[in-house]
């Protein structure tokens, strides 16, 4: 695979959709040999190899096929475990046990194996068998309720943000376990709960409950971490174009007044301090809205940033794809795919100086690496390999 920090580390990847694949993508981007275990039966929807979604979250990985409902598949998985460093799975807790592949059993095959189980609720507890995808976990953690305009109608995020967060914790767990294995030579079983991962993002709001203060409530675009005023999202010229502006210091307030050509406001008693500005929020929002609506978001942000005021364009996916700053940082990486052609993918936000991801591979095709893994790595004879293919074990 790639030449990188994790070259020489082999990962058996039993994950699907996003949370698990995002975790193993981080490892694959860094050179780990990630072997994704698929099957003809399940390679559908987000797991269909020619889907753009699949290509995005499974680049740099290998693919093998194995029908886990067949008893022979268990034996092959155990053999794969013996020659691997890490196994990652994101099934409900009962699935691996049903296949006879609990950590205890895998450990008999490989004493130093690191296994990370990423389930919705964790491997234990009264809700362990509950099913949930990222939006349900957003809801359970309080993120949905608090990411709303007010109390009446919860809104929440428009995408499966939580899956990335769970994936990041998954990668963190693998790396922490590897670091410990370097030191102690021991393997680990990590029980990662998606629900808990989301709750770590809500720490202060949850702690607020036991500190006995005012409970956190949804407050639109206001922050309860930083005091700022004016601060919010304002309409700009064009259809559904928006900018954000956030003024917290007196210096930033002075700069905003200069850009608005309203230096008189700077000396106005009503707005002299942050506290005073906060108590005249509506007036300031109206004033800003009047100004931003006349200009493009790009103009507003360029003027304000030049003057030293935190401001941003509310970017669409299209804006992101053409963002000059991201382009200068080569955020999008071309991946040549044998069927899909030249595709683009986001680069990892983890950047090391001097790294240039020039040799990244598109996602594998279904079972592309069957021969390499079963014949070369596991040492099956040609006869055994073909036999398993014919009988549908490797399929």
């Amino acid at each position: 695979m790639l030449d990188g920090i994790l070259s020489g580390i082999r990962v058996v990847d039993l994950t699907w959709v996003l949370a698990g694949p995002f975790a193993t993508r981080i490892l694959a981007d860094c050179g780990a040999e990630v072997i994704k275990v698929q099957s003809m039966k399940t390679a559908k929807g987000t797991e269909a190899n020619l889907n753009g979604y699949f290509n995005t979250w499974n680049r740099n990985k290998r693919s093998i096929t194995l029908d886990m409902s067949r008893p022979e598949a268990r034996d092959l998985m155990l053999r794969l475990a013996t020659i691997s460093d890490v196994m990652v799975e994101n099934f409900s807790p009962r699935v691996m046990a049903n296949w006879g592949l609990t950590y205890e059993e895998l450990k008999k095959a490989n004493e130093t194996l690191i296994m990370v189980s990423m389930s919705a609720m964790g491997q234990t507890g009264p809700w362990k068998d509950r099913v949930a995808f990222a939006p349900a976990l957003h809801a359970l953690s309080g993120l949905t309720y608090l990411s709303s305009y007010g109390d009446e109608q919860p809104v929440g995020l428009g995408y499966a943000y939580g899956d990335h967060v769970i994936g990041l914790y998954g990668a963190l767990a693998v790396l922490a376990a590897l670091e410990d294995r370097f030191r102690t030579g021991r393997g680990h079983h990590v029980d990662l709960s998606g629900y808990e991962a989301l709750c770590t993002l809500m720490g202060p709001a949850i702690m607020g409950e036991s500190l006995g203060g005012t409970p956190a409530r949804p407050q639109g675009n206001r922050s309860d971490r930083f005091d700022a005023c004016p601060s919010g999202c304002y309409p700009c010229r064009g259809t559904d174009r928006w900018c954000v502006i956030s003024v917290s210091t007196d210096e930033e307030w002075g700069a905003l007044c200069r850009v608005l050509d309203r230096v008189d406001l700077r000396d106005d008693e009503r707005f002299r301090t942050l506290a005073a500005r906060c108590s005249h929020e509506e007036q300031l929002d109206d004033l800003l809205r009047g100004w931003t609506a006349e200009q493009t978001a790009e103009e507003v942000v360029a003027f304000l940033q030049e003057a030293g005021v935190p401001a941003g364009i509310v970017q669409t996916a299209e804006d992101l794809a053409h963002d000059p700053h991201l382009r200068a940082r080569r955020y999008f990486v071309p991946l040549e795919h044998p069927v899909l052609g030249r595709t683009l993918a986001d680069r990892s936000p983890i950047r090391f100086e001097e790294d240039e991801p020039l040799d990244w591979k598109a996602a594998p095709q279904l079972g592309e690496d069957n021969r390499y893994v079963f014949r070369e790595l596991l040492g099956l004879t040609e006869e055994e390999f073909l036999g398993h293919q014919e009988s549908g074990v490797i399929s």
């Binding site: 981080i26 919860p154 995408y159």
Partner: protein, 365 residues
């Protein structure tokens, strides 16, 4: 590391007030738990030299100054790695260390806007909506933590450190699920549509005592049977609703019918029945519900954070994973400014007691 006196060295306007006036602030209690606290005036020459002595004994430095600031005070990565070639430096900023916007001012709102989170969040007829809880910082920090562990593993092989460059904008743009993928592959610009998922198969409905997250992606006919058994299915039993495409196109009607049904129930009652049929439904929880969640309590997810506040320390979320079955254990509460000056400067760095006292008097620490 904070400024002498404990003034924030981070963004002004922080509600984490300074010094003795600092009250129980859940943000710093949470993010600074388990850390030691020292103070240092890094911008003075003596402070700078002391900092480089700390660097020489450290494995990792994490900083979030504007790009270039550390270089202007004589503490660039080059200088630091001169003092310690194995040092891993992680720089976490709004836009990263390079590129035309690296000098832009950022904050969570700016990162969420520029990163693409806001445009796809909120009601279609209202303004874009920022995610709660400084998510751009949370996720940039997670990328940084993963990067630090990677750099430490690399150091085992090469003996050399690394400078890791994390941009909050990229951290947000890198955690957008379908949003960029659909544009890059299908030319679709995803828009915000309230609580309705992009594939129109899940949404939030009101109940008697709160709200519930409902998914209709799986087992449609089972769901309709359930609702019909209570006489609330209206026209949903008609054949055309079994067609996924038709259902998706007319999801507003599905939501209206189901809303009339959910309004007659309590959240937990619906969640329990739904989960028994393996529907991925969930309560829209408030922080108080999270704090009293039977699942989280059974797994000992919360840990006490030292003896602070009335009635003991606050219940703090622990790590989201157990290594070999063990939970995170108790946490050390967040330090007061300079609380560990003696321990760090005297015990770790080997300064004499008089030296530490002199540095404190002269305002260096």
């Amino acid at each position: 590391m904070e400024r002498p006196g404990g003034g924030s060295i981070r963004r002004p306007g922080s509600s984490a007030a300074s010094g003795a006036a600092k009250r129980a602030d859940p943000f710093s209690e949470y993010t600074d738990a388990n850390k030691l606290g020292i103070t240092l005036d890094i911008e003075s020459e003596e402070g700078r030299r002391l900092f480089l002595r700390l660097v020489a004994k450290a494995d990792v430095v994490v900083e979030s100054f504007p790009p270039g600031h550390l270089a202007t005070i004589g503490c660039s990565y080059e200088v630091m790695s001169g003092a310690n070639p194995g040092l891993v430096l992680a720089s976490v900023t709004g836009f990263g260390q390079t590129g035309p916007r690296s000098g832009y001012r950022s904050c969570d709102l700016v990162a969420c806007a520029f990163g693409g989170q806001m445009y796809v969040t909120g009601e279609p007829a209202a303004s874009p909506l920022r995610a709660y809880g400084e998510q751009s910082s949370c996720v940039a920090s997670l990328f940084a933590a993963v990067g630090v562990l990677l750099a430490l593993i690399k150091r085992r092989k090469t003996g050399k450190g690394e400078h890791i460059d994390i941009s909050s904008q990229e951290a947000v743009a890198g955690t957008l699920d379908h949003v960029l993928v659909r544009y890059l592959y299908d030319g679709i610009v995803p828009r915000r549509q309230g609580s309705l998922a992009w594939n129109r198969s899940s949404f939030i409905l009101p109940c008697r005592d709160g709200h519930i997250h409902v998914s209709i992606a799986q087992q449609w006919e089972t769901l309709v049977e359930w609702v019909a058994a209570e006489g609330m299915a209206e026209d949903l039993r008609e054949e055309r609703w079994n067609d996924e495409v038709y259902r998706s196109r007319h999801v507003d009607h599905v939501m209206d019918v189901l809303r009339r049904w959910t309004l007659g129930h309590d959240v937990e009652e619906l969640v329990e029945t739904a989960q028994a049929m393996r529907f991925p439904w969930a309560a829209v929880a408030r922080p108080a519900d999270v704090a009293s969640s039977p699942q989280l309590i059974a797994r000992e997810f919360f840990r006490a954070a030292g003896p602070a506040g009335p009635g003991g320390g606050p219940a703090m979320p622990g790590m989201p994973y157990r290594f070999d079955g063990s939970s995170s254990g108790p946490a050390r509460r967040a330090p007061l400014p300079g609380e560990d000056n003696q321990r760090v400067y005297r015990d770790h760095l080997g300064l004499s007691e008089e030296e530490v006292a002199r540095l404190a008097r002269s305002g260096i620490i």
